[in-house]
């Protein structure tokens, strides 16, 4: 309660705090320089105590034995293909020096993931773009730029760059990697969707070609800088608050392969691994065929998730998007994967709100059945409030509403009639709670009828397929002696004792609803 963050923000903060861990803090996103020109001297950071002077860096180099990762990092800095026009070699060297000195002095040489740390020239370039792009800092920024451009290497400058470094690893990393002037109260919406997981997942992307892993990483990183310079800082939430310099659009994919495994994004998407819409359409056709022929749910679910991801990162929202979600939702339903189904359903609800086509009433009906299953009455209330009068006239929605009302009033007769006549794929959902409702009905029947009822009556009233099936069900939840054969027909002996047993089973069944229903 007393913490500043309210619980509904807690999850967001959990993902952000993950980035504080030094082990994978840097590679997960673009480390952005603190605003150097606006640093207030009144707030000394611990790093100020670090001795400046290049000489110190030299001595550090002699003292410390550098791990191979650092060496290869340095090597890469000087490779011609990584040079960026507009960043002089001297600037790059200064930056490199400060990076390494900083790392050595804070004992983080082994903690930093050098393979994915941006090259110093990239850092310098980013600094410049930031300063240029930020009108508030323009005066100071340009002054500073002039100073660095003239490469007047003074003691003072060196110190200021050291400050910047510490801010980069300490202050900045804790605040999401965005410089203070980009920080708004709300966090970047996209950030919330990214979990900063250890890098192993990302490395798997390159498993086909392990030898060139670091190089591929490098490529990916370069791409990322090109695309994300402004885009993720200028998502709608922050755009409202701060003037965004380069309102770049969503990612546009370049990948031509039809199939792709799903990985949860741990960084900004790379256009090389994202498939554009025409490819995705072919993918969907392929997946539909494969699902018919192979019926391999693990494969198909994975493929659909990556398909959905590609749509999301490219901000594609049209009828095709709706179709993808609908098909995935149906497949998930068929396989009883309620977790996945629920994800699709939530997205679909928003997509339908935008009138993009698809089959809104079919899925609105599922939604109602789903909330009956999870017995989420608050959400049910919301779902009911969502319906338009026209929706209520359609067969599917009407059916779902009737199911709901039959259950609310305990009208098992009507409920099981509806169960046997469920439109679309609603039966998959109803299967999930039909046994639960059979127990409720049996508890009622046992209490209300005397002295017995024919098993045939149970079979018919409770939608069983055969007398054997209903007998089996009764035996599973009560005792043998409640079923007796009289005059050639099997009868269920009703009355208090049987009612009690079914009441117990019913309560048990109603208690264990797995809300998520993940498989």
């Amino acid at each position: 309660m007393s913490s500043g963050l309210p619980p509904w923000r807690a999850s967001a903060s959990a993902t952000t705090t993950a980035s504080v861990y030094p082990s994978h803090a840097t590679p997960a996103y673009i480390p952005v320089q603190a605003r150097r020109s606006l640093t207030t001297p009144s707030k000394p950071t611990p790093a100020v105590s670090i001795q400046p002077a290049p000489a110190d860096a030299d001595s550090a180099r002699k003292r410390v034995e550098f791990p191979p990762a650092v060496r290869s990092y340095v090597q890469r800095c000087f490779e011609p293909e990584h040079q960026i026009p507009g960043v002089t070699r001297q600037e790059m060297e200064t930056k490199l020096k400060s990076v390494i000195t900083e790392a050595a002095q804070s004992d983080s040489l082994y903690k930093i993931d050098w393979a994915t740390l941006p090259l110093p020239q990239v850092m310098v370039q980013n600094d410049k773009t930031r300063i240029l792009a930020n009108p508030e800092a323009s005066t100071w920024g340009s002054l500073y730029m002039a100073a660095t451009a003239s490469s007047a290497q003074t003691y003072k400058h060196d110190e200021s760059s050291k400050k910047r470094k510490s801010a980069e690893y300490q202050t900045d990393s804790s605040s999401n990697g965005f410089p203070p002037w980009r920080q708004t109260n709300k966090q970047n919406a996209f950030e919330d969707r990214i979990t900063y997981s250890p890098t192993d997942k990302r490395q798997r992307i390159d498993f086909k070609n392990p030898t060139s892993k670091s190089k591929a990483n490098l490529e990916m990183r370069k791409k990322r800088f090109e695309d994300t310079r402004g885009s993720y800082g200028s998502s709608p939430s922050s755009r409202a608050a701060s003037p965004s310099p380069t309102p770049t659009g969503p990612v546009v994919g370049r990948c031509q392969e039809l199939e792709k495994n799903y990985f949860r994004l741990t960084s900004a998407p790379n256009p090389d691994t994202v498939r554009p819409l025409p490819v995705l359409m072919k993918t969907l056709d392929l997946l539909k065929k494969k699902w018919k022929s192979d019926n391999n749910y693990t494969y198909i679910c994975d493929q659909f998730k990556s398909l959905r991801q590609d749509l999301t990162v490219q901000h594609i929202r049209n009828e095709f998007t709706v179709i993808v979600y609908e098909i995935h939702a149906r497949i998930a339903l068929e396989k009883g994967d309620l977790g996945e189904y629920n994800q699709c359903q939530t997205q679909l609800r928003a997509l339908y709100a935008q009138q993009l086509g698809g089959h809104p009433t079919e899925f609105k009906a599922y939604r109602i059945l789903y909330f009956i299953h999870t017995r989420n009455w608050t959400a049910m209330n919301d779902a009911l409030a969502d319906l338009t009068p026209a929706d209520k006239q359609t067969h599917a929605v009407k059916h779902a509403l009737d199911v709901r009302s039959a259950l609310a009033l305990g009208n098992y007769h009507r409920f099981f009639q509806l169960y046997l006549d469920t439109p679309n794929m609603g039966a998959y959902l109803m299967d999930m709670f039909v046994d639960r409702e059979r127990l409720s009905a049996l508890a009622v029947i046992c209490k209300a009828y005397k002295p017995d009822v024919k098993i045939r009556f149970i079979t018919e009233e409770l939608g069983f397929e055969s007398d054997e099936q209903s007998a089996r069900f009764i035996l599973d939840h009560s005792a043998e002696h409640f079923l007796q054969e009289k005059d050639g027909v099997v009868k269920l002996l009703t009355g208090g004792k049987a009612a009690q047993l079914f009441e117990l089973s019913k309560n048990e069944a109603h208690r264990v609803v797995d809300i998520k229903g993940q498989i």
Binding site: W8, N381, H413, R414
Partner: protein, 452 residues
Amino acid sequence: MISILEELAEGQRQLSGPLVAAALTPVDTSEDPNRLQSFYNFSNAAQISTSLRHYLTQTCRLKIPKQELNAWIDLFSAYWKVVGELLKFGESSTRASWVQVFDNWRDLANVLIRAYTNFGFENWTISCLYVVGKYLRLFASKADAETSAQSSDAFYQEDATTDFGKNAKTEEAARVLNRMFTLCLNDRAPLEASRKWGVYYMTNLLFKTYFQINAVGLSKNLLRALSAQAKELPDLEDFPKSHIVTFKYFVGVIYFLDENYGEAEEHLAYAWKLCHRNATKNKELILTYLVPCHLVNTHTLPSKKLLSHSPRLETLFRSLCDCIRKGDLHGFDTAMTAGEEEFVRRRIYLPLERGRDIALRNLFRKVFIAGGFEESKDGQPPIRRTRIPVAEFAAALRIRTHADSRTRIDIDEVECLLSNLIYKGLMKGYIARERGMIVLSKGGTAFPGTGV
């Protein structure tokens, strides 16, 4: 004459919280239509704290400890800034912005919180907390409305379901209010000088905020925190009634939404009894939830007199109640459909729907009464006929649901309805399926609680 400053000074002299709180209320009054403007004209941004200090120490000759005085000056300087933002609306300039107002008011709230934690504001000033909290919520929702009005045309969303930022300011307000809540709850000063007296007011503000942003679940955290501190808190009866009525109302609604109608009725009834008799709107709100609760729990309908006080409740419940009373199922279904939108919006659809059971009970009771009496034997008082063919109930259903001659009434369904009433204790007896008969209990207990 600057009424805001006078209220402040007078409040300080008398140690009256309400007076200081009145000074902090950011509205013009009918007595002083230029109340805010005159305060704003009192000084300028550069000199406001100096002016305030001079006014309080020299003009009014108040003796306040230095630290506390500084805190008051900070508070009213922050207040002066908000007033400036508010006045922009009057200038019809495009610069006026509720987001600005909110941000400045939030700063004011933070200054106030600091004044309590660090600079020894005493508990007589607690009304300041109320007024600042109240306007914090109001300004937040105005700011959010303003933001969404501006961004509605800009079509861009990260994800299909992002409501993200829709309630950003209100959420921020909730965070600040939560700090105020803990500020009250965790005050360890002796009770007579404690801020604990403000805890229910702050809770209510948070309830309102959570309901507004559709985060009712968070309210339970507050209830948990309160019950953990229950021993330290003064008795509920000792708090101002206005705080308690609102508090009980919200707790009742929270249980209500969980379908825990028993608990809900308890709290709502408490609120109902304590509610000021002229607080019409509050009474309406309480009854909106209390009536369905009572229907579910006790199967009783509101009296004509109760509903007659409020036209709104009258339209909400009247026809429904009449149909239940008469056992008019067709009318009941029509009334439910007619009121559906409103019922769903108020989240009372689900409990009201259960009223159908009562309507059905009343209908079947009529069947029982129409069955008349058995032949009395040996001068015993006559007893009602307790063996009734299911077909008679089916006939009653046919009449009351307006079924025409073509619709078949399903005997199995009639039995199902009957068995449910028996199961729920609305009827006593059993169904003998082989003979197509209902055997009801004798001795005036066939329909418990209805006299037959």
